[in-house]
C-alpha cells in the first residue's frame, strides 16, 4: 500500500483547541519521512508538545487528519499505534527493575520468555547498561535512567519514536553527551524520531530537519544549517542562535537586495528575504560571528563607525558589545586567534559585513 518514498507520518490540516476558544495548533501540515530525525522546536506554549501528544494518541485532534504509513490514526487508541515514546521525566516504572521495565512492552505483546531475554539484553547493551538489569530505576543516575527510557522505547522495534524533552532534567555536560548517543542510536537503527525540545542547540545538534513552532504555527521547517544561516523570518532569527537585530525602514528594493534606513543613523544594504514594501518597517538579522572588526577598505558595502561598550572574555572568542547605528546591544564575536584585533572599552571601532549575511526580515515584536 505504501511507497517507500511516502512520508511515514503526515499531519493534514490539523487543528487543536483545548477550550474551544483558542487554537493551540493552527492548521498544521507536516510530512515526516521514514528514517528522519525531526525536531519540533519552540518556546513553551507554542504547540509543539501538543502535536507530539496528538501523534502519540493522548490528545485527540480537534480538526484534520494524522496518518501513519498512509493510514489515518485519529481513532486508533494509543496502545495500538506501536509508537515508542520517551517522556520528560523518563516515566520508568519505579516498582519494576530495569529488566522488567524493558520486558514490559514485550510481555504485553505476548513474546516468549527467551526471546524477551535476548531482546532486553540487546537493548541494554545498546545503551551500555548491560549489567544494570536487576537494579531499580531509583538506584540509577539521571543519565542512566535516561538511557533506560530510550532503550525501553526502542526495545519493541517501533518504526517511530517520540521524545518529549527527554534531556531537560540532565546537567549540561550529560545533556551534550546524551545528544550524541541518541543521534548515534538513531543513525544505527534507522528509526524515525520526532523530538520535542525548547533547547535550540539540542535541535541543531541532532536533527535532520527542525520545525520551529511559535503561536501554533510552524515558522520554518528546514535542516539545521539552513535554519541558522538563512532564517525566513524574524522569529526564527531571534530564536535560533545569537542574533543582532537592527530596526529600520525599507528605502528601495532592487534585484533581491534592498536598502534599509536605520532611523537616521545611516543606510544598510541587505538581502531582501521577507521585507515589506518600500516604506515598510523591517528588522535586519545579522549573526555576531559574521561581523568583522576593522575590515580592509572596500571589502564590505556595509561599514559603520561604532564605540566599544563592553568586552567579555570567553576563552575561544571575545564577546564585544558595540554601539552601532544607535543600537548599543550590537554584539560582535571576535575569534581568539593569535593576531585578533586588540580592543579597548570606550574606544571607537569600525565594523563591516556583507549583503548576504544581513537579512531583511519581517518585524517580530515578541509575545
Amino acid at each position: 500500500m505504501s511507497d517507500p518514498s511516502d512520508p511515514l507520518v503526515r499531519f493534514i490540516e490539523v487543528q487543536k483547541s483545548y477550550d474551544g476558544e483558542i487554537l493551540v495548533v493552527k492548521n498544521l501540515n507536516l510530512d515526516i519521512a521514514k528514517g528522519e530525525f525531526l525536531t519540533m522546536l519552540g518556546p513553551s506554549g507554542s504547540g509543539k508538545t501538543t502535536c507530539l501528544m496528538m501523534l502519540a494518541g493522548f490528545e485527540p485532534a480537534t480538526h484534520g487528519e494524522i496518518t501513519l504509513e498512509g493510514n489515518p490514526i485519529n481513532n486508533v487508541a494509543p496502545h495500538k499505534r506501536g509508537i515508542g515514546m520517551v517522556f520528560q521525566n523518563y516515566a520508568l516504572f519505579p516498582h519494576m527493575t530495569v529488566f522488567e521495565n524493558l520486558a514490559f512492552p514485550l510481555e504485553v505483546r505476548k513474546m516468549g520468555k527467551s526471546d524477551i531475554e535476548t531482546k532486553v539484553k540487546q537493548a541494554l547493551d545498546m545503551v551500555q547498561l548491560g549489567d544494570f538489569g536487576h537494579r531499580r530505576p531509583m538506584q540509577l543516575s539521571g543519565g542512566q535512567q535516561q538511557r533506560v527510557a530510550v532503550a525501553r522505547a526502542l526495545v519493541f522495534d517501533p518504526q517511530l519514536v517520540l521524545m518529549d524533552e527527554p534531556l531537560g532534567a540532565l546537567d549540561k555536560q550529560l545533556r551534550e553527551q546524551m545528544q550524541y548517543e541518541i543521534k548515534h542510536i538513531h543513525e544505527s537503527l534507522g528509526v524515525t524520531v520526532v523530538y520535542v525540545t525548547h533547547d535550540q542547540s539540542e535541535a541543531l545538534t541532532m536533527s535532520n530537519r527542525v520545525a520551529v513552532f511559535n503561536d501554533g504555527v510552524i515558522q520554518q521547517l528546514a535542516p539545521p544549517d539552513v535554519l541558522y544561516e538563512k532564517p525566513d523570518n524574524a522569529f526564527c532569527a531571534q530564536f535560533i542562535g545569537e542574533n543582532n537585530k537592527l530596526m529600520g525602514t525599507v528605502k528601495e528594493k532592487s534585484g533581491g537586495n534592498c536598502v534599509v534606513d536605520i532611523s537616521g543613523s545611516g543606510v544598510v544594504h541587505a538581502l531582501d528575504v521577507n521585507a515589506g514594501d518600500v516604506g515598510a518597517g523591517t528588522s535586519l538579522s545579522l549573526r555576531p560571528e559574521r561581523v568583522e572588526i576593522d575590515p580592509p577598505e572596500g571589502k564590505f558595502p556595509n561599514v559603520f563607525e561604532g564605540k566599544v561598550e563592553e568586552l567579555i572574555y570567553l576563552g575561544d572568542h571575545i564577546r564585544t558589545r558595540v554601539n552601532v547605528c544607535g543600537h548599543d546591544d550590537f554584539i560582535v564575536k571576535v575569534p581568539n586567534i593569535s593576531d585578533h584585533a586588540s580592543l579597548i572599552e570606550g574606544n571607537p571601532v569600525k565594523v563591516g559585513w556583507t549583503i548576504d549575511d544581513c537579512r531583511a526580515l519581517d518585524v517580530y515584536e515578541g509575545p
Binding site: A56, G84, F87, N89
Partner: protein, 422 residues
C-alpha cells in the same frame, strides 16, 4: 591546617581552629538547636505522657494487680501462703479467717472482698457477706463455727480460690479474657462451653474490622482515583463531599443510619413501596452485625480515601501514558503499572481503618444490637456496669497487643517507610 590533617591522618581527633576537638565544637553549636527543638515538643510531650501514656500503663497494671484480698484479709493471706492445697486447712487458718472477716466488716471492705471473690468463684458473694456478719460473735473452734455458718467453707475449691486470690498479683484476669480459668488443682483449663464468650467476641471484632477495611478499600479506591485525576474544579467539589461527613458529628451520622435502616425506616419503606418485599418481610438491617458494618464503613471511609488520595496524587500521569505507549491496553496498564504504585496508600489506609475499627465503641453500641457488639463494648461493660476493672484492663491489654502485632507484621511485610498518611 597541616596539624589538623596530620591529626586526622594519625587517627586522632580532628581539631577545630581554636584547638578544641572538632566533634566537641560541633556538639556545642548543635546543642542550642537541639534545646530549642526539645522545647517546642515539650508541651505536647508532657500532655501526651500525662493524659495518654500514664493512664495506659496504670490500666495495664490494673490487669494484673490484685490487692483486695491481700490487703483486707492479711492474716488469712499470710497463713494460706504456705498451705499445700491438698486438705481443708487447719484451725489456725479458720481462726485467722474469722478475725479477717470481722475486721473487714468493721472497715466496710467486706463488700469489695465478696465481689472480687465472686468474679473468680461465681456465687460466693453471699457466703462472704453472711459469714462476716456472724464472724464477730464466733467462738473457738472456728472451723466448726464457720462451716456451720456456711458449708462452703468445708470445700477445698473455696480455699484453693481464696489462696490464689490472696496473692498480690494475678494472671486470672488475662485467663478470663481468653475464656480460660484455673481448675481446682490450679491447672489452666478452658472455661465451660456455655461460659466462653471473649474469644468469640475477639474473633467477631477482627472479622468486622476486616470487613469494614475491605469495604472501605472497595468503595474508597475509585473515589480516591477520581480525586487524584479529575480537573481541579471537580476534584475540589468531590473532596468537600468526602470531607463533609468527616466534619459531622459521629452521633448524628450513626443515628441517621438508624433512621434509614430500621424496620420501619426509609430504606425498608422504599423497598415495600417498590414491591421488592411485602410489608411482613421487612429486612432487619440494623441492631445486628450488618448495621455495625454499614455504619462503621460509612464513618471510616474518609480514613481510607485520604491516604489513598495522597499517594495517587504523587503518581504522575506519564506512567499510565508510558504504559499505553508501550502497547499495554488500559486495563493491563492500570493493573501492572498504576495499581502497584498505590500499595503504600492501600497499606496505610487499611491499617488505619483496621486499627480504628478494632477499638470502635459508639457505633456498635448504638446500632450493633446483640450480634454487632465488639470487644470495646464489653470493655465498657466491665468498666461501667460490672465494675470488674481488672478484666476490662486485661481485655484492653490483649487488644493493645493485637494492634502492636498487626503493626509489626505490616512493617515487616510492607515497611513503615512505605506508608503514606498524607
Amino acid at each position: 591546617m597541616s596539624e589538623q590533617v596530620m591529626a586526622a591522618a594519625g587517627g586522632g581527633a580532628v581539631l577545630a581552629a581554636d584547638g578544641t576537638p572538632l566533634k566537641e565544637r560541633l556538639q556545642k553549636t548543635l546543642r542550642r538547636r537541639k534545646l530549642v527543638a526539645a522545647g517546642l515538643v515539650l508541651p505536647l510531650g508532657a500532655f501526651v505522657f500525662i493524659t495518654f501514656m500514664f493512664p495506659i500503663v496504670l490500666m495495664l497494671f490494673r490487669s494484673i494487680d490484685n490487692p483486695v484480698i491481700n490487703e483486707n484479709m492479711p492474716l488469712t493471706a499470710a497463713i494460706l501462703e504456705h498451705w499445700d492445697g491438698q486438705d481443708i486447712p487447719g484451725e489456725e487458718v479458720f481462726a485467722a479467717l474469722a478475725a479477717d472477716l470481722a475486721q473487714a466488716r468493721e472497715t466496710k471492705e467486706i463488700g469489695r472482698v465478696a465481689t472480687r471473690m465472686n468474679f473468680e468463684y461465681s456465687g460466693v458473694r453471699s457466703v462472704f457477706t453472711s459469714t462476716a456478719r456472724k464472724a464477730k460473735n464466733m467462738k473457738a473452734p472456728f472451723k466448726d463455727a464457720l462451716i456451720k455458718a456456711d458449708e462452703k467453707w468445708g470445700e477445698r475449691e473455696m480455699w484453693v480460690t481464696l489462696q490464689r486470690m490472696s496473692k498480690p498479683y494475678t494472671s486470672s484476669q488475662y485467663l478470663a479474657a481468653l475464656d480460660m480459668r484455673y481448675d481446682i488443682d490450679n491447672n489452666i483449663v478452658m472455661q465451660d462451653e456455655d461460659r466462653q464468650i471473649y474469644v468469640m467476641i475477639f474473633g467477631r471484632t477482627l472479622w468486622i474490622s476486616f470487613l469494614v477495611s475491605a469495604l472501605c478499600l472497595l468503595l474508597g479506591y475509585p473515589v480516591a482515583y477520581l480525586l487524584a485525576t479529575l480537573p481541579l474544579k471537580y476534584s475540589n467539589l468531590l473532596m468537600i463531599m468526602v470531607l463533609l461527613p468527616f466534619w459531622t458529628s459521629l452521633l448524628v451520622r450513626t443515628t441517621s443510619w438508624i433512621v434509614l435502616l430500621q424496620t420501619n425506616g426509609v430504606l425498608n419503606d422504599i423497598f415495600v413501596w417498590l414491591h421488592l418485599i411485602d410489608d411482613e418481610g421487612r429486612i432487619q438491617m440494623i441492631y445486628n452485625q450488618m448495621g455495625t458494618v454499614i455504619a462503621m464503613t460509612h464513618i471510616l471511609l474518609p480514613f481510607m480515601v485520604l491516604p489513598l488520595y495522597s499517594v495517587m496524587k504523587t503518581i504522575p500521569p506519564s506512567y499510565m501514558r508510558a504504559a499505553l505507549s508501550l502497547g499495554a491496553n488500559p486495563v493491563t496498564a492500570y493493573v501492572r503499572v498504576y495499581a502497584p504504585q498505590t500499595v503504600p496508600g492501600i497499606g496505610a489506609g487499611s491499617l488505619l481503618v483496621f486499627i480504628l475499627s478494632i477499638g470502635y465503641y459508639i457505633t456498635p453500641a448504638l446500632v450493633g444490637g446483640r450480634t454487632g457488639q465488639m470487644i470495646s463494648n464489653f470493655i465498657a461493660f466491665h468498666m461501667q456496669k460490672s465494675l470488674n476493672w481488672g478484666l476490662a484492663a486485661a481485655l484492653g491489654g490483649i487488644l493493645l497487643v493485637g494492634v502492636l502485632i498487626l503493626y509489626w507484621a505490616y512493617s515487616k511485610i510492607v515497611g513503615v517507610d512505605n506508608m503514606k498518611l498524607g
